[in-house]
Amino acid sequence: MNLRSGTLRTKARRLALATAAATTLLAGLGGPAFAAKTLVYCSEGSPENFNPQLNTTGTSFDAARPVYDRLVDFVPGTTQTRPGLAESWTVSEDGLTYEFKLRRGVKFHTSKTFTPTRDFNADDVLFSFNRMWKNDSPYHGVSGGAYDYFGDMGMNEMLKSIDKVDDYTVRFVLTAPNAPFIANLAMDFATILSAEYADAMLKAGTPEKVDQEPIGTGAFTFVQYQKDAIIRFKAFDAYWAGKPKLDNLVFAITTDASTRWAKLKAGECQVAPYPNPQDIEVMKATPGVVLMQQPGLNVGYLAFNTQKAPFDNKLVRQALSMAIDKAAIIKAVYGAAGQPAVNPIPPTIWSYNKDITDYPYDPEKAKALLAQAQVTLPLETDIWAMPVQRPYNPDAKKVAELIQADLAAVGFKAKIVTYEWGEYRKRCQNGEHQMCQLGWTGDNGDPDNFLYTLLGCDAARPGGGNLAKWCNKEFDDLVRKAQQVPDMAERTKLYEQAQVIFHEEAPWFVIAHSLVSEPVSDKVVNYKLSPLGSHEFKEVDLK
């Protein structure tokens, strides 16, 4: 009681003082109290929590990334990997055993509720992976306990064991050789949490705090989060790779794209992702603003159901690829937000085959090919259009209408079909369509993540992600082989060849990759657009 009234009295006194101070300031507008190097990022939404193991959205990943590290890191601006918390690693001859040497002297952050007593070691690695992998981990069920990304990347089947060899050595044994494994470890879900913090919170009866007030080894410490308003981070002085150049990093949560742009112009933030496509031309011409652009790690496509006539005939698929005017679609639907796609992987992914040229728009040749394939025209078919906007396809219905008109010119009468999003995806995966639009946003920047996941024979089963239901032995063999060899040069050759087969077989009409644009203040130094769509500030500076 006493304590409480004491606080109240102090508050009242402060209120009086504050009012007095405010009155004296009436004439001028008070300036901010500190103006160290603070970068403000106009982020697009509130994170679900601060543990990337539990999330699947870029918004949540971005919000947690400043705080954490992973065993392996992506080199900023690329899909290549480099050592992170693991200093180095060795792969056994059979490609099954990965031994990671951990970095020494790596410190965890300190917060109001937790002060670490030890440096990062193998226990943290084991805790982090076991939380996702093992049902008997005390943390497995905390905060909803859904580890979608871990499961989606096939980690449950891929892992045979994870063992601590000593405090600074961890051994992962796989069930089968899998070269993309290293890229997986650079992904956000593979974040390393503090086992000591988790223990402390479990003892305190508040395990979910681990996911809401994050403690990591990352370049920035978490300071404050106010839902829908702000996330604050402070540079971590003891960061193992050296203190970051920024003193403070602030996420000003701004959901509306027009507002983000207005804030950038007004100097209220320095980086503003996901602009309105119609603002892009203006951004290019605005002084003080640099518009950064690069293709996104995604592809939008129209899958021909190769198990249904006439799409089981390669000639028909090639013909339709020539009957559709891709340039018109890009112009009408994507505008400045897309670029035409040639291959099923975007050009920012290593092993992209530059030598392949796209099918030309040539309705006459298309008709000739259809005649050669002895298709009876006119033919009734369907084109599916998803009901939601995606980065790789801002308006599937409009795309469908354009394709419908192009196909009508060669004798295909297509009906446009759509369902609610979940239902849509499910029916396409079951192969109920003749032609289905969908797309993919890559995860780890590995070609396998597109080619095997979307076009491999395994995924061609009903319910699988191969919507063309296309199973080509030659293609599948190449992609599978590339999973087994760790050497990147060799893998590159295999993937390049696989893309040649894809082009010839044309199971998809590849539509576009999104063109990611990001206006950035010209005061920002060393900020790189990530092909993986993440936003990272650890190496960024301000002029």
Binding site: K11, R14, L15, L17, A18, T19, A21, A22, L25, L29, G30, G31, P32, A33, F34, A35, T38, V40, G45, S46, E48, N49, T56, T57, S143, G144, A146, D148, G151, D152, Q212, V223, Q224, Q226, K227, D228, A229, I230, R232, V250, A252, I253, T254, T255, D256, S258, T259, A262, K263, A266, E268, E420, W421, G422, R425, L438, W440, T441, G463, G465
Partner: protein, 336 residues
Amino acid sequence: MLRYIASRLLVLVPTVLGIVLLAFFLVRQLHGDAVEARSGERGITAEQLAERRHALGLDRPLYEQFGAYLGQLMQGDLGKSYVTQRPVIDEFLELFPATIELSIVAMIFAVVIGLPAGILAALTRGSVLDHGVMGAALAGYSMPIFWWAILLIVLFSNILGLTPVSGRLDVLYYIEPTTGFMLIDTLLSDEPESFWSALRHLILPSVVLGTIPLAVIARMTRSAMLEVLGEDYIRTARAKGLSPFRVVWVHALRNALIPVITVIGLQVGTLLAGAVLTETIFSWPGVGKWLIDAIGRRDFPAVQGGILLIAVTIIAVNLAVDLLYGLINPRIRHQK
């Protein structure tokens, strides 16, 4: 009076029950599954789907789910958000002060401008001023909020540089929320000068949010005033030799205020509805935006809880307005 309040509160029970029922069944009529809404291109397997639906109790028959929900409500538990796993009531209370603060300031803006404007228009009936005020009110009433907001941002923030674009406070101030009301919290903080930043951040959103209520209040005041000014007792007051100021601002206004206050009470609902858009454009961390997000994510507990709490707020405000009548006009005191 107390008996009146008690009877009014009793009547509210079925109203609130009705709202709970509607909110519960309506969100379940939305297309799309709460679990599937959260997965991307990849989707989730049928087993995962079944498992998660089971964990959330979504596989039980609707009436059973509703029964369980009612039971929860009886114990004052609104459930946990599917998305953040945090109690709905915590999230709501964290964001609600921002909405209230914005609504109050917007309402003050609307009343402070709308009331005198309406009175002036009534006193100068048929003049250029009257037509000007009524024209502006009509324009304000029909203004699309989104467009109006962007227009003000471009003009006042980008071109003139007078107001901040969005948010509640300059990000360089670090204020720990105490009450959730930024104007108060900044004064309680170690950096009281941040109060001015908070105030400046309130200008554009409250103008945008207050525009429609302002227009309604101005029009309502004008017509109520006109009616009252034609009454016999006003003529009597004038004949008695009272000053024109006293006649208008004391005798006429007091009577004209009754319908105006009703309208102000009703505008609280409009304000909360307008808050959804205003909060989105100005990145205002309030419950309007939160509720829209929750609907998009099919976060049933958050939607149900949010609707219930907002509805209760509106009901409470309207009850307060009803009680206020008695204070203004002794004729309608509720003592029988």
